[in-house]
Symmetry: C2
Subunit: 379 residues, 2 copies
């Protein structure tokens, strides 16, 4: 195992009707609230009215920034931070999925400074403080609710990348599985794929941490035991709850304890597909993973075989494991080739953008040749 | 799943030579340090000198309280708290195993008050603040390094019980597996038994939390894959590290998320055996668990069968599972009957003390008849 310091400061409020504690929690931080949300789905579901009701009860001064896009962009972050800065907000309340909460994390470190958020992402400067962030999650997928990471795009720069700072953990995250009832079938599936992919990134990270490996397999098995069933029963509370909890545990640090890092090569490639073609994050991962596994198979057959055998509870070769993992993604109705999305993609453009973004994995480094072959394999 | 709020404030410093960060960490809290330790084994191993060296480097004012006994007693807590109170210490540094850290937790809430610590344990009054506690762990077993619980005895009152408060989490815990190299074979085994028993208490808790169940099985399997090997290779870093990490994860809240509580019936009975006969905690648990399982088997065959099947990776009945669990404890060279300890125990006295302490489980309540039969079964 690698040495590590484990400390996750987020308070996770999980379960039915946990929003009853939201008002009290917000009051711990002050009166002025920057409410950040997306393109209005929370208005359709009634969640917006519910949250506004809670904010009224505690007599909060509310400033809103809405319209955060899926695959969020840096322009929204700067615009929202300007609103927060102008009004001197005490706390940010992010209501939505990964895109909204990721944006809010970068907003939280951008409000206290005078420069654009992009200076953080390009590592030109480091954040020194953050406005406390409280999140209400509406999509089980990214794990952002209990980690210090965010992913953001800059279309002007043709760049999409992850960014993290210990200041970016939400102070509190509220997870009521009922709030995910209205997530449609395809996005529910992409969320399950995302949590499985996060587990895989940890599995293929560097470092021998056997208990973390067991936790990883536990999370993937949980997702497979209940995920496909959920796709046919979208308002089943018990299934929603199992997937929502698994998604949080898949990327809150637990699976990486004792490892040097996750790999994140597949995520890096997936981000580029989302940047170029606005492919949902989870779908980009199910497209890239089989190709990536096939490409690295000759170098790491044991590790792949161990993963497949662990998930499917039978002794499998690496070859069989890859095939079964591809089938697993298919059982979630997710694409496993780019062509299955119906997008007419430009191979050369993908390849060039991968190179331009210096896409690689932390454990299994990807050079130009590797990227070329992986692109061929997932087209 | 049950609703829950998850938040563990302890920073866990895990790995080889993590003590290099101890001085810096202590300085965050102030200059005056109350150093709490046991009966001197840390002097034999050289750890005491090392810690004193670190304290000198940061020019700490050190006040010592030593002599904390295994199965710690309330008298030591009050005496140590008096030392801390007199000198107005800023931080407590506990160096030792579960007994030392448990005592230090209660010391941390007793220093700020004028009444005896026992008033907390009997729930006469509640703690309102605590002196920050930093721990250096020398025994992989109880999980106290990352939870808010302590177990304490009062021989005058013939009472041994657990106590918990959110104020009692250590702020930092330092776990270097090398510091457990000198733990003798029998106490190493009791520690492994203890972490397995903690996992079992969570397994038999109330509430349907499938992912937590998977985590529980992961921890028990980790303990069984590496524990017996460790008993024959006590200075093997990799094995020590795996067991030390598993012990922390077995009782830091992870396995109970989504459950109402653990059961703790076996622990309650075990505490009484330790109180009466000074039996090491882990050994008391391997004596009681088979008896408890046999007693509850008729009511919960499925749950027991699922546990056995999960640990041993084959389909087992409840009867077979209990037999295999007993064998598992034997493979750790732990007693599974009280008679195997060589203690000439008084059945009636045990039974009376169990009743006097109102021993029960949170999920499977134990009445007088149950206790009577369990005592018969473990003699």
């Amino acid at each position: 195992m690698e040495s590590f310091i484990a400390h996750n400061p987020t308070s996770l409020h999980f379960g039915k009707d946990v929003l009853s504690g939201l008002g009290h929690t917000l009051q711990l931080y002050g009166k002025k609230v920057l409410l950040v949300y997306g393109k209005g789905s929370i208005k359709k579901t009634g969640l917006y009215d519910k949250v506004i009701g809670i904010l009224k009860e505690i007599h909060a001064e509310v400033y809103e920034y809405n319209g955060i896009r899926p695959n969020p962009v840096i322009e929204d972050v700067d615009a929202a931070a300007a609103v927060g800065r102008e009004h001197g907000v005490d706390v940010i309340l992010a209501v939505g999925g990964g895109s909204v909460i990721d944006s809010a994390k970068i907003i939280s470190i951008t409000i206290p400074v005078q420069h654009p958020a992009w200076d953080f992402i390009t590592r030109k400067t480091k954040p020194l403080k953050a406005i406390p962030l409280v999140s209400v999650l509406t999509l089980a997928a990214t794990g952002t609710e209990m980690n210090p990471f965010a992913v953001i795009s800059n279309h002007g720069e043709k760049f999409k990348d992850g960014y993290g700072s210990p200041l970016m953990y939400p102070v509190h995250s509220f997870l009521d599985p009922q709030l995910t009832f209205t997530v449609p079938r395809n996005y529910t599936a992409y969320g399950i794929a995302d949590l499985i992919a996060h587990s895989f990134e940890a599995w293929f990270g560097a470092g021998d941490a056997t208990l973390s490996d067991r936790f990883i397999l536990s999370i993937v098995k949980e997702a497979m035991d209940y995920g496909p069933a959920l796709l046919n029963d979208l308002e089943n509370y018990t299934l929603r709850e199992k997937i929502m909890y698994a998604a949080t545990m898949a990327l809150n640090g637990l699976t990486l304890q004792g490892k040097k890092s996750g790999d994140w090569g597949v995520h890096s490639i997936g981000h580029i597909l989302s940047l170029l073609y606005d492919i949902p994050h989870g779908a980009s991962l199910t497209i890239v993973y089989p190709a990536w596994l096939k490409h690295i198979e000759k170098n790491y057959p044991d590790r792949i075989g161990l993963l497949g055998s662990g998930i499917f509870n039978e002794s499998l070769t690496s070859h069989e494991s890859i095939w079964r993992i591809e089938e697993m993604f298919r059982s979630l109705a997710c694409p496993v080739r780019l062509s299955e999305t119906g997008i007419s993609a430009d191979k050369q453009k993908i390849y060039d953008t991968l190179l331009f973004n210096k896409v690689s994995g932390a454990n299994y480094a990807l050079k130009a040749d590797d990227l070329h072959r992986i692109v061929e394999l997932f087209m």
